[in-house]
Symmetry: C2
Subunit: 374 residues, 2 copies
Amino acid sequence: MSAVKSQKEKLGRITIKAIKEVATNIDKRIARMRKPEITFPVRSLGNVRYDPRKGYFELGKDRSARTLSVNTAKSFAQTLKMMALSKELVETNDFATKRDAYYQSKNWGDARFDDQSESDTVMDDIEAMFSVHGVSREQLCYVPDEHGGAVAGDLIVYDTDIQTGKTEKIDCTKFGSGAYSIPSLVEQLTFETNAKFVLCIETGGMFQRLQSHKFWRKSKCILVSLAGVPTRATRRFVRRLSDQCKLPVYAFVDCDPYGMSNIYRTLKVGSGNAAHLSQFFCVPKTRFLGVTPQDIIDYDLPTHPLLDVDVKRAKDALKNDPFFKTHKPWQKAIEQLLKMGVRAEQQALAKWGLNYVIEEYLPQKLAQRDRFLP
Amino acid sequence: MSAVKSQKEKLGRITIKAIKEVATNIDKRIARMRKPEITFPVRSLGNVRYDPRKGYFELGKDRSARTLSVNTAKSFAQTLKMMALSKELVETNDFATKRDAYYQSKNWGDARFDDQSESDTVMDDIEAMFSVHGVSREQLCYVPDEHGGAVAGDLIVYDTDIQTGKTEKIDCTKFGSGAYSIPSLVEQLTFETNAKFVLCIETGGMFQRLQSHKFWRKSKCILVSLAGVPTRATRRFVRRLSDQCKLPVYAFVDCDPYGMSNIYRTLKVGSGNAAHLSQFFCVPKTRFLGVTPQDIIDYDLPTHPLLDVDVKRAKDALKNDPFFKTHKPWQKAIEQLLKMGVRAEQQALAKWGLNYVIEEYLPQKLAQRDRFLP
C-alpha cells in the first residue's frame, strides 16, 4: 500500500531532475558568456503527427528557442521563477493552481505578473517545454482549478493523507447513490479492481441512473461521469486507470458531432492545438459504444434536427481531422448522421422505459463489442 | 442505521398523499359535473415575503387556477401524466431527470411533449403546485441533471444501496485528496458528525487546498465545494446537514457582487423568482466569513477593478434586494466595495504564501465569528 507514496516520490525525482536539467543548461551558457536561451516545442497543427498504432496526436520535432534579450527579460525571469516555484512545490509536497501562481508572483518584485493572462501564457510555455522531457504540468504540481468527474463501481483507489502520510483506501462500491469525486492531482493514485472495462458517460443524469441501479455490479465495470468535455483531472484519471489496470474504456455519449468529436475524439486521441498534452491525457484504448447513428434507427429513438453548428462540425471532422480521416467506419457513421439530418441524446432511450438503457440497450451493445466504432 | 430507509419511506408516503389529494380534488369536480381545475401559486416578486426571523424568501398567498378548456386540454393532461409518473417513481424507488420525463412522454399518445421546453414548463408548474403542500420536486423523484458539489471532512453520510437495500456508511474523512460527490437526490441521507460548522467554498482550487491540507481536522468542520453558484443538490445537501446536525454554515467566496449576491444570497435566502424553492433549498443559518471589502484592506490583497456588470449588480442589490435592504452591515459592505472600485478573488490570499489562508486568514476570521456579515 506504500505504493502510493513511492509513486509520488519517484515522480518527484523525475520532475526535479528535469527542472535542474533545464536550469543547468541556462547556467552553463551564462558561464560560457553566451546569451541564455530556452527551447520550446512549436505548438501548431503543422507540428502534429498521428500514428493510429500509437493511438494519439503527437508533437513533432519542430522547436523554437527564446533567447534572453531586452524584450524577453521579464518573461524569461518569470519562466525561471515559475520553475523554481514548481521545484519548491514538489519538495514541500504541495501544489498550486494557475491563480495561486499568479498571486504568488505579487512578491516577485519586478518579475511579478501584471495580469493573469501573462502568467497563463508562461504556464503554457512551461507545460510545453517540460512535455518534451515527459513531465506534465500536474507533475510540476500546477493543478487545474476545476474538479474532476465522479466515479463509482468496482474500484479501490489508494491515496495518501498528505498531513499524516497514511494511505487511505477508497472503496468506490460503497457510496450509496453518491460517488468519488476525482481530485485535481491524480498522479499519486494507485488502483485495485476486478472490473473488465471503464464506462465513460457524458451526462450526470445517465451516470446517476447507472450508479443508483448499480449497473457496474452485474456488468463488472467502473463508471466515470464526464459531465460534458472531460476536465484534465478526469482524462488523466481514466488514462492512468486504463494503463495501470489494462482496462478498455468505452464511451457512452450523445449521438451528435459534439459527442463524437469534442468529447470522444478529445478523450481518445487529444486535440490538434494541444498535442503536447496527448502523451499524458489521451486514452488510446477508448472505443465508442454509442449512441451511434445506426442506434437511432435500430432503437427507433426520438431525435432533434441537426443544427447548423452540428453540420459544420461534422463536415470539418470529415475534411480536416486526422483521426476521422484515418478511420473508415467513422467516416461512414458521420456521413450517415449528416444524411439523416438528426441527432439523439443518450437519454432518448428513456422512451422505452427509464431503465431500458440498463436492461436492454447496454447489455445488447456490450455483447457485440467488436462492433464498437474505433 | 435503518434511519435512511425509514426516512425514505416516510417521505414517499407524504409525497403520494399529496399527489392523491390533488388528483382526488380533480376527480371530485368531474363527478359533480364541474370543470376540473388545478391551483398554482403565483410566481412573481410581488408574491414574495421576506421575514428576517424566518430567514428566507417565502411565497405569498396569491394563487391562480387553471381550468380545463379546449386550450388547456393538452397541458392539463400532461400535468396529470407527470403526476402519475411521479407516483410510479416513488412506488418503484426510482427517479427521472427532466430529460427522462420528456422522452418518457413519447409513449403518452396525444399527451406527448413535442418539445423539451414544454415539458420543462409543466415540470416547473408541478414543482410550484406541490411546494404549497410542502413537497419538493426532488421528493416527487424528479432529479436535476447536474451533479452535486464535493464534500470532505468530519462527516459520515448514510445512504442505501437501492439494489440490495443495504445501508452504506460513507466516511468523508477517508478520501485522500479526493472527495465525496453529492448525488442528485439527497432526501434519504442521514448524517453523523462532530464538526462545529460547515465551510462552503466558492472555487474548486481553494477547496482542493483546504482538503489536501486537511483544514477540517484542526478546525473541526466539513468542507463543501460550491463550484460557483451551487446546484440544487448541493444547496439541499447543505440545508439538510445544517438542519439535522444543527450546524452553522460559513460561506467563503470571492469579494465581488457575484460572490455576495448570486452565490451567498442565493444559498442563504433564495432568489426572488423562485421563492417556492426557498423552503427546501435555503440555508438560513449561513453567514458570510469572507472575503469582505474590509479584508482587502486588512490583508492588503491584490485586486482587479470592478467591471460595469459588477457595479450594476451591486447597485441593484442595494436598491431592490429585500435581503440586502434588511441588513445594514451588508449595505455598508457593498457601499464600501463600490467606493473602493475593486474586487478580490479568494485565491488572492496566496500573495502571502500558498497556505497563508490555512495558517493565518481562516483561523483569524474564525476567532471572531460574531463579526461575520449576516
